[in-house]
């Protein structure tokens, strides 16, 4: 069977992003490089045929998702959990973890000026952050980092996709 077809079958059957190396496991004849090539080919085909979906890079993998233009037509089928957005407290905490990881709860609280125990628990339950290490020193506090799912949730390829602090408009105001 053609590589494009195998890759398409695997991507279609998956509900999560898959890395090229993972997709390549489908067949012993398939290399990650061939998978990448097949994905490129499929992307062009979907574009040409005006499919309702496209292959999107997410984290270190790829996933077939519907195009944003279709979103309004799918709203009636939305489940409640699906549309749940994060609170500002959660977003601020995630922002700090994303940039400062591995980071302890105390450091986050210092930065946000508020207690974050509940928010951390919540983010952990949603699989957006995880304990990645323990710090040295007193009490050996847990250190948090973001997960693969974090990238997926925000449609990011990697943490490098996050804006650099100097790109934010805020920097204009920090200059004297």
């Amino acid at each position: 069977m053609k590589a494009t077809r195998i890759v398409e079958a695997v991507l279609f059957a998956s509900e999560t992003p898959l890395a090229p190396a993972e997709i390549a496991r489908a067949s012993s004849d398939l290399t990650p490089a061939q998978v990448e090539e097949a994905i490129g080919e499929l992307c062009r085909e979907y574009e040409r045929e005006e499919r309702a979906f496209q292959i999107y890079p997410l984290g270190d993998g790829y996933q077939i998702l519907t195009r944003p233009e279709c979103a309004t037509y799918l709203e009636t089928f939305d489940s409640i959990t699906r549309t749940q957005r994060l609170t500002r407290a959660a977003l601020e905490t995630l922002a700090i973890i994303a940039y400062r990881q591995p980071v302890s709860r105390m450091e986050i609280e210092e930065l946000r000026g508020v207690n974050v125990a509940g928010v951390l628990r919540n983010l952990q339950e949603r699989g957006l952050i995880e304990v990645v290490d323990r710090a040295e020193g007193l009490g050996r506090p847990l250190l948090y980092g973001t997960t693969r799912r974090f990238l997926d949730h925000f449609g990011l390829r990697s943490l490098d996709d996050l804006p650099r602090p100097e790109d934010l408009q805020i920097t204009l105001r920090t200059e004297r």
Partner: protein, 254 residues
């Protein structure tokens, strides 16, 4: 990724900048930033007296409206502001460098917090954008499947059957020492030691410190073995009476 819209446009403001709904704010830093930014105050030259007054006005009655912990966070900031104000009123010492502005630590925290607050808005936009894409299954994208997500194939009667086949727990739950094999040889050693000090030893006294049956059995086997070798003699006056172990060479003790 798109750049965020400016902070000011996100915070809905009333006409009076310091009539604020405290519950809308993420914490004292958020509120303080709002007061500063909404009045176009230079963050590097905060009029502390004015801002402190506004801050305290804004958190008036905070204890009633927020939980004790959240209220405490705001009150702590109020105390910090008052302390900074007091420091600024103190006459400056001559050796004080210009950088040692009592406000500088607060400014550093505010700028750092503002940065992350900004990133949070960027993330919020990214989240909204990502939500326009639907994956297969139309449920929230899940992390790589792990055990938690595999349906477990296990029926109650299966669990119950296993439960029924399990042994009853020991009546007493003694403190369990690490399991060590108990040998007859070991017990023989102990008998030798005991009989070195006394000519005769009651069997009962010997096994008293061993709580388990296997120790008693091994001790008894050791006795028998020693008796067989002629090293000790065993004596019991009547059935179930005290079993005495005599040193073999002390025949005259009889």
């Amino acid at each position: 990724m798109r750049l965020p819209t400016p902070v000011g446009s996100r915070v809905s403001e009333s006409d009076d900048p310091f009539v604020v709904d405290i519950e809308r704010f993420q914490g004292p830093l958020d509120l303080l930033l709002h007061l500063i930014r909404s009045q176009d105050i230079d963050i590097f030259d905060i009029p502390i007296a004015e801002i402190t007054a506004q801050f305290i006005a804004a958190i008036e009655g905070v204890e009633q409206r927020l939980t004790l912990e959240r209220a405490g966070e705001f009150l702590e900031m109020a105390a910090t502001l008052v302390r900074i104000k007091a420091q600024m009123l103190l006459p400056r010492r001559e050796d004080m460098l210009e950088e040692e502005d009592p406000r500088s630590e607060l400014v550093r925290r505010l700028l750092e917090y503002e940065l992350f607050r900004e990133v949070a808005y960027v993330l919020s936009d990214a989240e909204a954008e990502r939500a326009l894409h639907r994956g297969k299954g139309h449920v929230e994208p899940r992390p790589p499947p792990d055990r938690m997500e595999l349906p477990l194939e296990l029926a109650m009667d299966e669990l119950l059957e296993v439960a029924l086949s399990l042994p009853a727990p020991p009546a007493k739950r003694p403190h369990r020492a690490p399991v060590q094999p108990i040998t007859v040889d070991e017990k023989i050693e102990l008998w030798f030691k005991a009989l070195k000090q006394k000519a005769r030893v009651p069997f009962k006294s010997f096994i008293r410190r061993w709580k388990t049956r296997v120790h008693a059995v091994m001790s008894f086997l050791a006795c028998l073995e020693l008796a067989k070798r002629g090293v000790v003699r065993l004596r019991q006056q009547r059935p179930f009476g005290t079993l005495w172990i005599y040193r073999g060479e002390s025949d005259e003790d009889r």
